[in-house]
């Protein structure tokens, strides 16, 4: 099955919050109480009640032209998702279409995914919450009414979001980058084509990723490998070792004590009986 993805084009986005509200609407999430905090960005961050937000960055270009860089932030559906790797309970998983799916019933709210994610996306309340590319829509929706596209993509009034086969979108995105370059945006780039196994949500950016608060080169955290691939089996071995050693020693000691005909032998077995009770 070809990998599904969607493409966010920052040069088309107008930051109307349509995707954010449509997402809440479809996923029946609570609106939270917010206050104005010096930006158009609200709620200020992803949360257990918010799967996607618009981030706003205001900068100068050549001292005269202000910049308003808008980024849609949600789970990026990495090709190699750190969160799935970190998840101890199987609540996060990768579907055959490349979507990082969530099964809240399995989530133990440990928060490992939150810290493992290079973008710190998953938010945990009673359970993890993050974008699942509207699985219920993409799996069961009606193509004609476009309820088979994710709610945010469908609702984008500017046409800044597109959903579909990842390879086709990559090709399209390259064209957009070229187009932006032809319009004088020298630094235009496609974010997420290759990093982390290729992101499932790619962004066409007018300026370098840092101007959008994105890590230029996100990687799977090293600690995660140490933890999951090295320490996890080792720790298990150690434990089994400790228990095994104790058991072995017990047999050894038992034989020894029998050999010694230690006079405390009887008491010992009595003590054990009591302990059980």
């Amino acid at each position: 099955m070809a990998r599904l993805a969607y493409l966010f084009d920052s040069s088309k986005c107008v930051g109307c919050h349509g995707c954010q509200i449509a997402c809440k609407q479809w996923n029946q999430e609570k609106a939270t109480r917010t206050t104005f905090n010096g930006s158009y960005q609200n709620p200020p961050a992803l949360s257990p009640d918010t799967r996607t937000i618009m981030r706003f960055y205001e900068n100068f270009e050549q001292d005269t032209i202000p910049q308003l860089n808008i980024l849609k932030v949600q789970c990026y559906h990495c090709g190699e998702p750190a969160c799935v790797k970190a998840c101890p309970s199987g609540a996060l998983s990768k579907t055959d279409k490349g979507i990082t799916a969530v099964d809240p019933s399995k989530c133990i709210a440990c928060g490992y995914c939150h810290s493992a994610c290079p973008f710190t996306v998953p938010a945990i309340g009673k359970h993890v919450n993050k974008c699942d590319m509207c699985l219920s829509r993409t799996e069961h929706g009606d193509d004609k009414q476009k309820t088979s596209t994710p709610a945010c993509v469908k609702t984008c009034p500017a046409g800044a979001l597109e959903f579909g086969d990842r390879d086709a979108l990559v090709a399209k995105a390259h064209k957009r980058v070229e187009w932006l370059k032809s319009r004088g945006h020298k630094d235009a780039n496609l974010y997420g084509e290759k990093v982390l196994g290729g992101l499932g949500v790619m962004s066409v950016l007018k300026y370098p990723p840092a101007s959008y608060g994105l890590p230029p080169n996100p990687t799977m955290p090293l600690e995660l490998f140490v933890w999951k691939d090295l320490f996890n089996p080792m720790g298990l071995l150690m434990l089994v070792g400790a228990v095994g050693a104790a058991a072995g020693h017990y047999l050894l000691a038992l034989r020894q004590s029998r050999d010694d005909h230690h006079h405390h032998g009887g008491d010992e077995s009595k003590g054990k009986e009591e302990m059980k009770g």
């Binding site: 349509g18 699985l135 219920s136 476009k146």
Partner: protein, 187 residues
């Protein structure tokens, strides 16, 4: 060993070994995990038009058991092709908001609170006041010209109503002799 004794512990270990198979089965990664069911099965779909700005974005309204359960953009509508902005995306909440007015409310003169009323009370009361204000202020002639108007009764609004209702509002107001007739286009 505290709450779990050694033997029980060992027993549990044995039981666990058996259970682990089942457990691991649960842990196996599912091909698809759809946490929320698709909500639009067996719904009645009817088109509508967004109530906000003048672009005229199409809406599709999904209803089930006499209740609207979802509203989203109409992909066929050439104005929005399925898209809706932040405001438009809140269309469902407009219908479902607990703050919607659901009863006729009346505030008496100098009162500090609303009272809930019935339509059967409100309509005659309003009509009486319209008549009283209109008749008391009605001007039949200005010089020789039949002006037939009242300036003491005014009507405001209309841009949030349907076109057919707008037409009726105009007809209604003019028939009452209202000349102070304005709506949101002016401001």
């Amino acid at each position: 060993m505290g709450t779990v004794s050694r033997r029980t512990f060992l027993k549990l270990m044995a039981a666990g070994a058996g259970a682990a198979t089942v457990w691991n089965g649960n842990l196996a990664v599912p091909a698809i995990a759809a946490p929320r069911p698709y909500r639009l099965k067996d719904t009645k779909v009817s088109p509508s038009v967004c109530i906000y700005c003048g672009v005229g974005c199409g809406l599709l309204v999904y209803a089930k058991d006499g209740k609207v359960i979802n509203v989203e953009g109409d992909p066929d509508n050439p104005n929005n092709q399925g898209g809706l902005c932040g405001k438009g995306s809140s269309a469902y909440e407009v219908y479902a908001s607990p703050r919607r007015l659901k009863k006729v409310l009346y505030r008496a003169a100098n009162s500090d609170k609303w009272e809930e009323k019935e339509w059967s009370w409100a309509i005659p009361e309003i009509a009486k006041r319209i008549k009283k204000t209109r008749d008391a202020s009605f001007k039949l002639k200005e010089g020789a010209v039949a002006v037939n108007r009242t300036e003491a009764l005014v009507q405001l609004g209309g841009a949030s109503h349907d076109t057919d209702e707008n037409y009726l509002l105009a007809k209604f107001a003019r028939a009452l002799g209202i000349v102070g007739l304005e709506h949101q286009a002016r401001i």
